[in-house]
């Protein structure tokens, strides 16, 4: 756990909104999100599938498909990403901001050797020769406890197990020692043992490279272990944000509380109903249809995000009540 310095944020996002044009309807996947990430800090972005957390991450690297559009501002080390030229973006991706993609089964090119796919990012940004790149990949693999790395380098993705593929993706993401690593659902689809290994792995890497990390996950327990700060997203909005200890100790937003209650360790109570479709959003508080403590005003008034403690923000009219 790294203590938080009050220096300027590495990444600061202000009122970011991302829309998708699908036939006639416009879908707002990310709605006026603002958050900061400080150097060497791990911010966890927690939410159910479909809440827009992956879209947020992809907006940072501007990797969204052509039918999308982003507004607001994303400043990284003073550079406004939304206005950056394609050339500037290209230099930043992989070198300044690394990404560890979501599904390990499909995120590796099936027809290319895994070693080669990791060397590619090194040769691209670090201007190193083939041999030197090969060497650094081998010790990267060994650092990530990949058994027999020299041999495994020449394997194809289908010849590796799920856990090993996950390690390859991590090594790819951290190869150029980027200052910020976007980690998308690292534990999705892994069994308990592997999940633990990956969590430790990510923790070591963050510490070792002193890089900050944006951890995107639906699993609160992973966020609790790794993150310095946690931001909870629901239907495209941040509903609560604060230090992980603060949120775990005293969750203010009803959705955060029910998320924590649904953890196996805390009684395994599922949240009723479905998260709303992003093209048919309810007028008032978006969690109102599923909120246990909702009252009539919640249905009509859309709450703003307000500070309810030191660096602790909540988007709920009755946050202090629960």
């Amino acid at each position: 756990m790294v203590t938080m310095q009050a220096s300027s944020p590495l990444l600061s996002i202000r009122a970011l909104s991302t829309y998708f044009q699908v036939k006639e309807t416009v879908v707002k996947a990310v709605d006026e999100v603002s958050l900061d990430i400080y150097p060497q800090e791990v911010l966890a972005l927690v939410g159910e599938t479909g809440c827009g957390k992956s879209v947020l991450a992809l907006s940072i690297l501007r990797l969204l498909p052509k039918n999308s559009q982003s507004e607001g501002s994303i400043r990284y080390k003073g550079l406004e990403i939304l206005e950056a030229s394609e050339e500037e973006l290209r230099k930043m991706r992989g070198k300044e901001i690394g990404m560890i993609p979501q599904s390990q089964a499909t995120s590796l090119n099936p027809l290319l050797k895994v070693g080669w796919q990791v060397m590619e990012v090194l040769q691209l940004h670090k201007k190193v020769g083939k041999l030197e790149a090969q060497e650094s990949v081998v010790n990267l693999f060994s650092r990530l406890q990949l058994p027999d790395p020299a041999k495994r380098m020449n394997y194809y993705p289908h010849q590796l197990s799920g856990g090993m593929r996950q390690r390859v993706l991590v090594s790819m993401g951290v190869a150029c020692k980027p200052n910020l690593i976007l980690v998308d659902e690292p534990t999705k689809g892994l069994d308990a043992v592997l999940r633990k290994e990956v969590v430790n792995l990510l923790g070591e890497q963050a510490a070792e490279n002193s890089s900050s990390m944006m951890l995107i996950t639906h699993d609160f327990s992973v966020a609790a272990v790794l993150a310095d700060r946690i931001a909870v997203m629901y239907a495209g909005e941040i509903v609560e944000m604060g230090s992980s200890s603060g949120i775990l100790a005293k969750p203010r937003h009803p959705y955060t509380q029910s998320l924590i209650d649904s953890l196996p360790g805390r009684g395994f109570k599922p949240i009723p109903g479905f998260s709303p479709s992003l093209s048919l959003l309810p007028p008032g508080c978006r969690f109102q249809p599923r909120c246990r403590v909702a009252c009539p005003k919640c249905a009509s008034l859309h709450p703003e995000i307000t500070e309810t403690g030191v660096n602790h923000y909540v988007r709920c009219l009755y946050a202090d009540r629960s």
Binding site: V27, L58, L64
Partner: protein, 291 residues
Amino acid sequence: MDTTIAVDKSYKKGVVRFVKQDKLLVYSAAVVLIIILIALMAPLIMPHDPTAVSLTEKVNPPSFQYPCGTDPLGRCVLSRIIQGTRTSLVAAAIIVAISGTGGVLLGLISGYKGGLVDSLIMRLVDVLLAFPSIILAMALVVSMGPGLGSVIIALTLVHWTGYARLVRAEVLTLKQSEFVEAARAMGNSSVRILFKYILPNVIAPVIVMASLDIAQIVLSMASLSFLGLGAQPPDAEWGAMINQGREFIRTAPHVTLFPGLALMVTILAFSLLGDSLRDYFDPRLREGYIE
């Protein structure tokens, strides 16, 4: 729960919205409909008797009286094209019907039964596909004597293989699916499972293949007639008309151009229909957005 009903409504609205948007499906279906109408009302809309020979007016260029000009025996090319629509579509319909049902049945059986039956049918399919279908059709037609009848028989014997393979592949995947196992668990006989559970899921791809197949059959029939094996004079069939116009290529190209145009438009319409039907039935191809 209100949310479930909402889902169904949006699906129907989705269908209408999809059709409105996918103009290709609408246009191709319209053209196909027009062609079928022409075939049905052939005798009514023909300006002249397609078999009326008037030697003095042979090979006239297109005029008001003969919109598409006349052929080497002075017959109205337009009327023969319209007559040709009927011959081609009726024959194609028969071929698709027989080879379709035959192929689907064999595909169902070989896919579901497996074992010896499956390998027997599949080996037969391999043999039939061992060389291009047009050559097999040619050998059959020559041996049965040229004429529309033998062309229909030949193409039926050749075209069922496509359906059999398609259906067998679908059955193999569906066989493992949960709902088929559930149906079997509930004690349904294999015949009921085939027809009540598996067949409905196979119909969509078969329809897509059928409309693409019609385009292919019309083309094969025209090719066979072009080689002198298909419809015999005085029957009006596009391939034969194109062949008959061969000699007049320089002096009267219209004799060859118009039947060729009709043939191409028909093939285009049915292929387009098949393509857009495939897109319609296979949502994956529609432009969705990332979750």
